[in-house]
Every structure is written in structure tokens, then in C-alpha cells.
Symmetry: C2
Subunit: 225 residues, 2 copies
Amino acid sequence: MLLSAATSVFAERGFREATIREICQRAGANIAAVNYHFRDKEGLYEEVIKACRDDARNPEIHLSMDSSTPAPVRLEAYVRWMFRRVLAFDVEFPMGQIMSREMVEPTQALERVVEVHIRPEALWLGGVMRDILGPRFSREELARATMSVVGQILFYKHCGPVIRLLDPKVMPSRDTFEVHVRHITDFTLAALAGLRSHRDAESPLTSVAFDATDTVPFAVASHTR
Amino acid sequence: MLLSAATSVFAERGFREATIREICQRAGANIAAVNYHFRDKEGLYEEVIKACRDDARNPEIHLSMDSSTPAPVRLEAYVRWMFRRVLAFDVEFPMGQIMSREMVEPTQALERVVEVHIRPEALWLGGVMRDILGPRFSREELARATMSVVGQILFYKHCGPVIRLLDPKVMPSRDTFEVHVRHITDFTLAALAGLRSHRDAESPLTSVAFDATDTVPFAVASHTR
DNA sequence: CGCTGTTTCAAACTGCTGTTTGACATCGAG
DNA sequence: CTCGATGTCAAACAGCAGTTTGAAACAGCG
């Protein structure tokens, strides 16, 4: 009960703005419960992240979508999945909220979040991007293209209040959700096709210019250890 | 002296995390100075934003770049300008920092920031995008394309800590700055060219489908008043 | 029942924040 | 010089945060 209350409060308010008092009140527990069961506020936060690890994985994406599925289809599925998670119309994706907040105001738990949630996802998406772009792009180019995709999605999360002020009709809603997914997918696919054809025209006869270790856009493990 | 100290502290820490004590200490003033000269912390914050209004405008972009300059050149100039402002290697763009933070955790000053800084910029960039895309796109499509550009740029701001953990080499530095500008510009131009040619192929003979009021991507003034 | 270890709870504690207060300093005009 | 307005300053205040404490309640078990 405490964990679930903490999850929603952390998701709504972020780590710093979330108060132990509100968590305990929502859980019907005493103020001292957090410090008794978990060491302190940070301990509770880490447990929340650990608890979210399992249900944050999406089988639709990472399991049933292997390389036999056409890469553009995988891209669209990813955009739809992440976009829904990021917008969080429903509260069923608290980890998406927490991850978004961690990016903006990182806590000590960021390293764990990156290793457990973000890096596998980035590597998976990087594989999709590699399939679309082909072998003639360096790992840095691949990484930049990957981040161009993620950036388009996260923008609506990080800049939601601004978009609402700028023009509320532009902010994605349940009704316009699929339109936005289509736009981001089409925009990206058009960009990738253009980049690839341009690259092919530049060096039409040279073979793959990068070795096998460069096929992955990001480091496969953290550099910090 | 108080204003400049407040500007840098607000830019570094954000409104909530910034403390009056640090501002006064950095300015060599007393704690009570803020409440005496400005009403309270929020009053000081608003004055900081007002003071930044003038030097935040960039003549290179908004003045010397009229419609006689080719739209792709204007786009690249915008990307370079905003990207530098957002990364803030040097501290010369505190307003960029403050604006980025306002987007993520908005304060009561957000409305002013949007009207004074963001809306004119969004309309200007929307004009560039319209010139590239042509008339066959609705205002909503134009707005989404515009936000795909801004999203790619702001991503490096909002997700800096994550990128550094994921792979430090991917994070833009002074050395790789121009490479990133080139990527975002090329990615966007390729996407826009693809979208436009696809649209032209869809309806090659129909004329402009939208009236003149639809040429602007966002509302020209706030809906809230 | 009686004991022991565990969990709960109200209250107090510590430390940080923005803000206020009242005494003191400064200084220009009459 | 005198006076009053303006600014400065150290200190205290009030509020809220996370944390600790010590007593009370509880559960399991001989």
C-alpha cells in the first residue's frame, strides 16, 4: 500500500516536490512508516523504481517485435508505445512519468533508471534505425538520428505547459493521438529515406565503411564502471 | 548587481531551487534586500525575465533574416542559434536556461515568457517551415512539423544528464556542435522534402486547399484573454 | 497468561526556506 | 546642524520538509 501510494505521488509531483506526509496520508499510514520500512525518502524512491522494473517492459514491443517485422512497422509501434507512455492520459504508466522527471531533474537513482530502463530501449530503437538507414552510417550518425526520434516524442512531455499556452489545439489528446503518431513516424521515415538516398548518391560504389562494432548506436554498458 | 546575481542563480538552479540567501550572498547584499527592493521572490523573478527581454532577441535571426533569404538557410540559422542558446556552453544566454526550466516546471511567469519570447519565435519559425513545405499543408500539420524541429533541439537540453550517462560522446560539445546543427538541419530538410513530394504526388492537380488564415501554425495571440 | 520481537503512532526535533522586524547608517535638502 | 526619507543590516520569525524518539499496540509462541 505504501509502495503504490509512493509510486503515484512520485509520478505526479517528482522526487523533490513529493512529500512523505502526502504519501503516508494517501496510504493511510503514519509519517514514520517510510523511515521505518525503507531507510529514508531515497530508499523508498529506489524501491519504487525497482518495483516498476517488471511491469514497465512492454512485451508488444520487445518480445513479439523481432527483426522479422519490417523496420518501419517496428518504428511506428515504438513511437505509438512511447508516445502513449509519455503523455499518460491514463495513469497506468507511472514509470513513464518518473523517467521523464528523472531526465529533467536527475536524482541519485538516475543511473539505475538509465541502465535498467533506458539503455535497453535505446539499443533496441537503435537497431531499428540501423535497419532503416543501412550500413553506411557511423555509430555517431545513428545515435543522432535515434535521438531525433526520441526528441520529437519527449518534446510533448517536457513542453506540455508551453504548448497548451501557445495553442491548446496543438497539444495531443486522445482524439488526435494517432494523428501525432502518424506525423512523427512519417516525418522520421521521410528524413531517414532522404538521408540514406543522399548518402548512397554520395558514395554509390564504396562498401560498408564501418566495422561490426559500430553497428550499435550507444555504448552497450555504462562507462562509469 | 542583485538582478544579475539573481539571473545567474535562477538560470542555474531554477526558480524553486534557487534561494534568496545564495542570490544575496553572490551579490554581496543582505538577505532582506530582495524583499525590500522587489516585493518577494516572485517579484524578483519577474524583473529578471523583464530584464532579459531585450538582450534575448537575436538580430541575426529576426532582423537580417527576411523572406529574401532562402528558407533552408533560415532554418539552419535558427537551429544553430537555438541550439547554442539551449546548450549554453557559455553563460551568455541565461534566458535560454530560464525558458527551458519554465517549460518543465512552469511558474506563474510562464504566461509572460510564452507571450514575450516563445510565441514570436514559434510564429517566425512557422513561417520558415511554411516556405519549405508549401501551401498544401494544414496549419495543424505545419505546427506538428515545427514542433518536430524544436523537439530535436530541446531534447539535448532536457535530457542532458541521461545522454551523458548513456554515452558521453553523443552529448554535443563545442567540438561537435556544428555536426549536430548539420544533422538536425539535414534531418529536418530531408523530412520536409519527403513529406512535400509525397503530398504533391497524392494530389498533384488540386490547388491550395486551405485559406489564408491557415498559413500561420499557431494562434497569433493567447486564447486566455 | 507472560514474554519477546515487531510494527504503529503522536509528538517532538532539526534544518532549511521566504519573510518580517526594528535598530542603525547614509545622505540630501532646508 | 537637523530632520526625514531611503537604504542596509543582523536577528528573529513562521512554515514546511525529512527524520528521530519513546511509548503504546500487536502478534506469535512457550
